[in-house]
Subunit: 278 residues, 4 copies
C-alpha cells in the first residue's frame, strides 16, 4: 500500500548529497511531495526534510539512504501520526488552555498523555477534557526530591515531548539530561532579553516599547536553549507590568502553539544551539 | 463609600469642554485616575473617557455633567463590573474556545449568558464549561424563520453584547437593527480586502503575502461596520488556502478577544462608521 | 575559471526532476551552494532556483539541463552581476531617494540607467547623484501621446526592469505589454484593499487600524498584478489621512526596496498571477 | 496675531491639575487642539502635552501656568518651528542618507547644522546636499583627545539635538554629560538584547528568529538610556550575520527617523530611565 513519510537527514556536508538522495527516491519510483535542504556552511553540515509518497519498505529505504550519505548521518523516516506529549504547568491557564482547545478540536496533532502541575489550580480545567491531571506538590522538599516524584510519574508514560506550558519552576540538569532535546518551553520574554524571573517586570523597568515571547528547547543553561519561535507585542508607557503580563499572554500561547506545531510536524532540526525550521 | 467609575462623554465639540468637565470633577473633589480625549475635527465631535474615584452620587454627577456639555451629549457613568455577553458560533472552536478559556480563568471580564449555534458540533465543548448551549438549526427554513427562533431565545437573556465567534451566517437587517451597536463580529480577512465568503480562498487566489483578521461592529452592510481591531500574519507561496485558514485562526481569535476586551472595558466609541479606541 | 551562477528552472512538474537536474550538476562536478524548489500542485508546475559553483560552459550546461526537463521549461543560467533599471517617478522623493541612497552605497545591486518623471520636481535630487534625469511632461496631451514620448526615451536604454517609484500615472495596456513582466510598482495600500486613487483617503474613511504597501508586477489590470512583497503599519483614530500618507511612506519605500532586491537577485518567479519567492 | 504652540508640563502629580491648567486656557479664550496627559502613579508624576491656538503672550502664559502647578514643574511653551540638529556618523550611509532625503524633501522638520564623522567615507554623499561635513579623525589619539576635537567643533553651532546616525564609537561620560538628554542614538539590536559590539553577530550566534533596532537617548551607561522607539524584523536560519546586518539596516533607519520625528515634534518626555510618548 502506498505510504507517505517524512525523511529527515542531518549529516556532514558533502558533494552530491541532493543528487545521491534524490537518486534513491527516483530509483524506487517514489514521489517527492515536498523538499527542503539547508547547508550550514560555518559548520559544514547538511540538513534535509523530504516528504515522499510511494510503495516501499521503510527499513530498506533507511538502509539504502544510509549507504549514500556520510557515516555520521542521522536519518529518520517518519510516518505522520499523532505524537504523544506530556504537559507541565503551574497555575496559569492560557498556554495550557490553548493547547487543550486545539486538542479538543483535533487540530493539535498530538495525543496528550497527561498534565503534571506543581499546584492543583488547573485540575478543574484539565478534568473537563478527560485528560489525566497529576498534582505533584513541591512544598517542603528539595528541588531534587520534587523532580524525582515528577520523573517517577513521567516514566509511566510513553511520550515524544514534554511541553512546559508556563511551568514556573527551574529544572535541574539531571531532569534536563534525562529528556534531552525533548523538553519545549515558552519563556515570557523576547530572549535573550530578560532571562530569568519576572521578565515583564524587567521589561517594564527597562521601559521597552515591545515585549515578546520565545519558545525554545530546554538545555542546562536557563533560557539559553535553541530558539524555535518568537513573537512580539508593542507596548507603551501606559501599561503597568501587570498590564504587560496580561498583554503578553496572547503572545506566549500563540508562540508556544506555533513551536509545538513545528516540532510535531518534524519541521525542526536542532543544530548546535540553534534550530533550522523547514 | 468611595467609588471608581468610567465617565464616557460624546458630544458636539465646543470651547472649554475639558475645562468644564474637569471642573465638575474638581468641585466635587473627585480624582482623575485616567483621562483621554479626542476631537474629530472633520465632524466637530468631542469624545472623552475619564476614570474617576471619589465619593459621589452617580445620578447627580451625570446631571451636573449634562449641564456643562452641549445638549446632544451622550453621557455614561459606568461602574466597572462584568458585562453580560451572548456568544454565537457555528462549528469552529478556536474563537469560541479562546473566550471560554479566558472566562474560566476570570480574565474575560464578562459573564457568558449562553452560546447559540446553528450546528450542534460545539455542544460538547461548551458543556464542559457549564455554560448553556442552544442549538438552533437553520435547515429547511428561511433566514427570517431561523433568526426569529434565535431572537426568541435571545429575548430570554439580559445581555450587553452579542459576540459572533465565527458565526458563519449572514444576518438580516432586521436582526442587526434589533441589536444595534451590540453585535461584534470577527471577519477572517484584513478588511476591506476579501469581503464575503471564503476570504482565505480569495487571499490564496490573489497571491497576497500577508493575511489578516478584523473585529468590527455589525451593521447592515456585510463586513462594512466600524472596525475595532485588526491584525495580520505573513504567508507565502507554500501555503495552500487551507494552510492559510489554519494559520489565520490564531489571528482571528486573538483579534476578537482583543476587541472584546476593549469593548468590555468601555474603551471604544463608535463615531459614524469608525471607532475611537482609548 | 570557476564560476558562480544562478540556475532558474520553471517547467511542468514531472517525476524525478530534482534527481535529473542534480545529476547534471553532479556529473559535471559542480557544487550546489543553495537550492530551493517548489511544486505548485494546483497547476502542476515545478520551480527551482539553484546557486552552483564550478568550472563549466554556460551554454553547454543550459543545453544539458534542457535535455532532462520537460519541453516547456524556461531555463536561465544567470551570472550574478548588476542589472540595469530605469526609474520612473512623479513628485514624491521618498521611494526614489531610498533607491538612490542604496545605489550610492553600492547596496542596490543595480545600475540606474536613468530617472524619468512627468514633473521636474525631482530633478534637483536626482542630479546630485549624477544620474540622468528626464522630464517628460504630460500636460495638454493624451495618455497615449505622453507614453509614446516616454517609450521613445526608454528605447535608448538597455535595461532589465522599469521601477515605478511612486509614478502616479496609470499606464496603458500598450505600455504594459511593451515591457511585459519588467515593470515593478509600489502601490500605497495593502492590496487588494483600496485599489485605485488615494488609498490613504480610502483607508481613513473606512477607519482601518492598519495600513499597508504592496510591491507588484504591473499587468493590464490596475493594481492587480502578481504581488512580490507587502508590509503594514498600525494606525489609529488620531491620524488624519495626510498623517497616514506620511506614515505610509516608510512602508512604501521599504517594501519597494525589498521587492527590488528580490527581483534583482533573481529570487522571484511569476506563476500566473502570483509570485514564488525563494 | 493668532499663535499655535505646544505646551509641555511635567510635574509632581496633584489633584485638579487638568482642571487648573485647562482653566488657564479657558480664561484666556484659547483653543485646545490636542491634549494628552499621563500620570506615572509609581513615581507620582504628571505629564501633559497640549497644543493650543489663540491670542496670547507666551511669557505671560508660562507665568500663569507656573502659578497653578506644583513648584517643581517644568513648563515649556514651544512654537513649532524647525529645530536644529547635528548629525554624527562613521561610514555607513543608510541612516544618514534616510535623514538627508527627508531633509531634502522638507519632511524632516529640522535644519541640519552639520555632519561630523570620524571617517571621510560619507563626505561625498553629504556634500551633494550642501550640508557642511566635518571629518574629525580618531586615529592615533585617545578617546578624550578625539572628543575634545569634536566638542570644539560642536561648540560653533547652535543645535537642539545631536543625532548619532550609526556613529560607531563609544562616547565618554564627559561628552554625554555635556549634551545631557540631547543625544539620540540608534542601536542595531532590540535592546536590552545584544548590548555592545556587533549585535548582529551576537544575534546570529544566539539563533534568534527576530532581530531589532532601538532608538534611545544616550546616557552614561552604554545602550542603557531611555528608549524612544523600537522595531523588529523576522529572520531565519538561512541568514548569515552579514545578511542580518543588511536586513537590519532598514529597521535601523526607520526606527531612528521615527524617533527623531517624535523628538522634533516635542512628543517625548524623559521620565527617569523611560520615555513617555504622546
Amino acid at each position: 500500500m502506498e505510504k507517505r513519510v517524512r525523511v529527515l537527514i542531518d549529516c556532514k556536508d558533502a558533494k552530491g548529497l541532493v543528487y545521491k538522495i534524490s537518486k534513491v527516491f527516483y530509483d524506487r519510483d517514489l514521489n517527492i511531495d515536498n523538499n527542503r535542504e539547508f547547508v550550514d556552511k560555518e559548520h559544514g553540515r547538511f540538513f534535509m526534510r523530504t516528504v515522499i509518497t510511494g510503495l516501499f519498505n521503510t527499513k530498506e529505504l533507511e538502509d539504502e539512504l544510509k549507504s549514500v550519505v556520510p557515516e555520521d548521518a542521522h536519518i529518520k523516516v517518519i510516518e505522520p501520526k499523532d505524537k504523544k506529549i506530556i504537559l507541565m504547568a503551574t497555575k496559569e491557564s492560557h498556554a495550557l488552555g490553548d493547547i487543550l482547545i486545539r486538542h479538543e478540536d483535533s487540530e493539535l496533532g498530538a495525543e496528550i498523555a497527561c498534565v503534571i502541575a506543581n499546584h492543583d489550580t488547573l485540575k478543574s480545567l484539565v478534568s473537563k477534557f478527560d485528560i489525566p491531571f497529576f498534582h505533584i506538590p513541591a512544598d517542603n522538599m528539595s528541588r531534587e526530591e520534587h523532580e524525582k516524584n515528577v520523573m517517577k510519574l513521567i516514566d509511566n508514560f510513553e511520550f515524544d515531548y514534554i511541553v512546559l506550558a508556563k511551568y514556573m519552576r527551574i529544572l535541574t540538569p539531571t531532569f534536563v539530561k534525562a529528556y534531552n532535546k525533548k523538553i519545549i518551553n515558552i519563556h515570557h520574554s523576547f530572549l535573550p532579553a530578560f532571562i530569568g524571573a519576572n521578565p515583564y517586570k524587567q521589561a517594564f523597568e527597562r521601559g521597552v516599547k515591545i515585549i515578546g515571547a520565545t519558545a525554545h528547547y530546554v538545555t542546562d543553561d536557563l533560557d539559553e536553549g535553541p530558539i524555535i519561535a518568537q513573537d512580539v507585542i508593542p507596548v507603551n508607557h501606559r501599561l503597568t507590568w501587570r498590564d504587560m503580563q496580561r498583554a503578553g499572554r496572547d503572545g506566549e500561547k500563540i508562540v508556544l502553539s506555533r513551536a509545538l506545531s513545528l516540532v510535531l510536524n518534524d519541521r525542526v532540526f536542532v543544530n548546535g544551539n540553534k534550530t533550522i525550521i523547514f
